[in-house]
């Protein structure tokens, strides 16, 4: 019997054999899963719509066109109380992006420095780095934010006793004030010069690599490019007659007016997020460097490479492969933690959305907007980091 089934090559399609067929069962389970997920989504959507209707709550995204009516303290684009709710959200989004962007850069630099310091042979430096990591890693981020905010506004002087900084800047508990640059005519030429310098630098680096590959001779392409990028715009600036004036902050009745300012809310949030995330990045960096086998360094030494070349060309590239994936998570965490901004009065997307939620009562819509925005921010960051990771990955030959 069994021999017959085998020799025929086609198993009989009876119901019981279908039950025991792993492939058929796999398909069945997948169909059931998809169907139940779809059903769940359909049920909650219907339920939400029904409940909103029963509670006489208007729904839809039409409210975004309405007049916002409230003001926002920190704004990167033109906004006033006559602007729409949509624009208010945009202002909040830009604030979130700003704090996340600068926070990520600072946290990365700080994290790398501290991570390397923890590996230092200098006992004091290593212990200091360790203390830093243990303190900031083990505090809730909200506490760190409060710590900086209370610190910033209580330690800094009142507006009337501002501390004068060099170059016409001032510091008080209303923020950091500095002169605003007003660019005159022809300033576009400076930007153009910068563009030319960057393109030229890329060309030089490519040429230097090709030359080293073919002849073995090295060229100081890094220094040349740096010089080019700094000198060319500066020379252009001077050549067209330095078209730059400044708007200096001056004391007003309540506070300084004029110039540009960064509020204590931004400063404290930015510092808190940077310091907090840096402690995690430091550990990731330390782990990454430790994970590079000692033999690699020894082999490079045996080849007669210098210490800084070993770090730059042997250790770091291998460590980066281990560092980048968890680093991505930290960047995402920093972005998400920026939603704690409302505690210190910084107008991020959650703070602005919260105000809107109260004015309009559109809770479901606004929470949905929050979700979509954070999801897109995170996915974009992850996408970029995955690309970077693929670029840094060990290419096997």
């Amino acid at each position: 019997m069994a021999g017959d089934a085998l020799s025929s090559g086609k198993p009989r399609k009876s119901f019981s054999s279908l039950i025991y067929d792993p492939q058929a069962r796999g398909i069945f389970y997948q169909v059931v899963t998809v169907a139940s997920v779809a059903l769940f989504v359909w049920i909650i959507t219907q339920n939400t719509i029904n409940n909103l209707e029963k509670a006489n709550i208007a729904s839809g995204f039409g409210f975004l066109q309405g007049r916002a009516g409230f003001d926002i303290g920190q704004q990167a684009i033109q906004y006033n109380s006559d602007s729409t709710y949509g624009r208010a959200l945009l202002v909040g989004l830009l604030n979130t992006l700003q704090v996340a962007f600068f926070g990520i850069i600072t946290a990365t630099i700080l994290g790398f420095l501290i991570g390397i310091a923890r590996l230092s042979h200098n006992w004091l430096l290593a212990k200091l780095a360790q203390t830093y990591v243990e303190i900031f890693r083990n505090l809730p981020p909200l506490l760190v934010i409060f710590f900086w905010y209370k610190g910033v506004i209580t330690i800094l002087p009142q507006a009337r006793d501002s501390v004068a900084l060099p170059l016409g800047g001032f510091l008080n508990n209303r923020g950091l004030f500095f002169p605003k640059a007003i660019w005159g005519e022809g300033s576009w030429m400076i930007v153009a010069a910068l563009g030319v310098a960057i393109v030229a630098s890329i060309a030089i680096v490519k040429w230097a690599r090709a030359r080293q590959a073919s002849t073995g001779q090295q060229f100081r392409s890094g220094w040349t490019s740096l010089g080019l990028i700094i000198l060319l715009p500066v020379a252009t600036f001077l050549a067209i007659g330095a078209p730059l004036t400044f708007d200096y902050p001056v004391a007003g009745r309540f506070n300084l007016s004029g110039g540009t300012s960064i509020g204590p809310e931004f400063i404290s949030l930015y510092l808190a997020l940077s310091f907090y995330t840096a402690s995690f990045i430091a550990e990731i960096v330390r782990g990454g460097i430790k994970a590079v086998p000692k033999g690699q360094t020894e082999a490079a030494n045996a080849l007669g490479l210098r210490a800084n070349i070993i770090t730059r060309l042997v250790v770091v590239p291998q460590a980066m492969r281990i560092i980048i994936p968890p680093l991505t998570s930290q960047f995402l965490n920093l972005t998400k933690n920026s939603s704690l901004a409302v505690a210190v009065g910084f107008a991020d997307i959650v703070a602005v959305g919260g105000t809107m939620l109260n004015q309009t009562g559109q809770a479901v819509e606004i929470v949905a907007i929050w979700l979509v925005i954070y999801l897109s921010l995170s996915l974009t960051t992850a996408l970029f980091m995955n690309w970077f990771n693929a670029k840094m990955a060990l290419v096997e030959r």
Binding site: N47, N51, I57, I153, R174, G345, G354, Q359
Partner: protein, 351 residues
């Protein structure tokens, strides 16, 4: 459960919003239920939305017992429904979380110094009717700034609480008077107060009653003063969900009973005597009139008003105890006096 009615639900606040969304999404049956009174009776206590601590209105003391004019309103509802003013529960809500909490059925009634506005009445799906405190928005400024009027505030940094009508009135007032300002917006009143106290802002703005309360909390209350301008009308009163007229009536008439009692001269002290010897108006209010169905028609017992007055007091007593001249806030009756004394507190006839 009833032994521990005065529960301070501090932790709840953070989860309120998510709970509200969850409830809306997953369809908590009570959310849009039209029979709040029956639900409350079945539950055995009434759940009121309170603030996170506004002295005189709703604030917990060091023992976790809530007090204030809004809390007494809640106690009044409990007394009317159960004949026992202790059968209530307060959920502490931030100004941002209060509306979702009411919409989702987390609280039965929002007694949280909420301003009655047309948009809240219509688009949020709420109903307002009674006003238990007529307020107006003002400014608190440091005396050292030497500001005599709000019109001198151009360029000032203003601390304000998030998601309030205060935020909108502020924008409108400065725009109408062509003044510049820098708003610093906080979610919690305590954070806004501490920022003002440490000099982050020049001015603090909220309803005047709130300013008097906040002034007491500052390091040096005497160095701060409330500016004379009142820039808005802020009728504060309880809100209930739309579409439940019976519950709406119960909540409204609790206030009217307290106002009527003051008008008739009934207090928590003399209510027993008045019930025996008062005039027909008084007997009708206190449920002592033969064959009267006023209480049962509301869905309550006939001694509902008696219980409110006996256990909580009339409107004047409540005002005096919580915010009046003998309380730490020392606010005058002003427009909150009875209509017979030149104020705005007026109750429809009990008949």
């Amino acid at each position: 459960m009833l032994k521990n009615k005065q529960t301070k639900v501090g932790k709840m606040k953070k989860t309120i919003l998510s709970a509200a969304i969850g409830a809306a999404v997953l369809g908590a049956a009570s959310a849009a239920s039209a029979a709040t009174l029956a639900d409350v009776k079945a539950k055995g206590f009434v759940t009121c939305g309170g603030s996170q601590g506004i002295p005189g209105f709703s604030s917990p003391n060091d023992k976790g017992e809530w007090s204030g004019i809004d809390i007494d309103y809640c106690k009044g509802i409990a007394a009317a429904v159960f004949g026992d003013a202790t059968k209530f529960k307060i959920v502490a809500l931030s100004s941002k979380d209060r509306f979702p909490a009411l919409q989702s059925g987390e609280v039965d009634v929002l007694t949280r110094n909420t301003t009655w506005t047309i948009s809240r009445d219509s688009s949020l799906g709420f109903n307002f009717r009674t006003v238990n405190y007529y307020d107006g928005q003002g400014f608190l400024a440091k005396k050292s700034l030497n500001v005599k009027s709000a019109l001198e505030l151009s360029g000032a940094a203003v601390c304000v609480q998030q998601g309030t009508t205060t935020e909108l009135n502020l924008a409108d007032y400065f725009k109408a008077n062509n003044l510049k300002y820098n708003p610093v917006v906080f979610e919690k009143e305590a954070d806004a107060t501490s920022a003002y106290d440490s000099g982050r802002c020049d001015v603090y703005t909220t309803d005047q009653s709130g300013l008097y309360a906040i002034r007491l909390k500052l390091k040096n209350p005497d160095e701060n003063e409330v500016l004379p301008e009142v820039i808005s009308k802020e009728p504060l009163g309880p809100a209930v969900r739309q579409g439940d007229d019976q519950w709406f009536d119960v909540v409204s008439w609790v206030h009217y009973a307290m106002v009527s009692a003051e008008e008739f001269g009934i207090t928590s002290k003399n209510v027993d005597d008045m019930k025996k010897s008062g005039g027909p108006d008084i007997k009708r209010l206190l449920g002592a009139e033969e064959g009267s169905k006023i209480g049962t028609d509301l869905g309550l017992t006939n001694d509902w008003a008696y219980n409110i007055i006996k256990q909580v007091g009339n409107y004047g007593e409540v005002f005096e105890r919580n915010v009046g001249p003998t309380s730490p806030l020392k606010i005058k009756r002003g427009i909150n006096a009875l209509w017979t004394k030149g104020g705005l507190q007026y109750a429809p006839p009990i008949r």
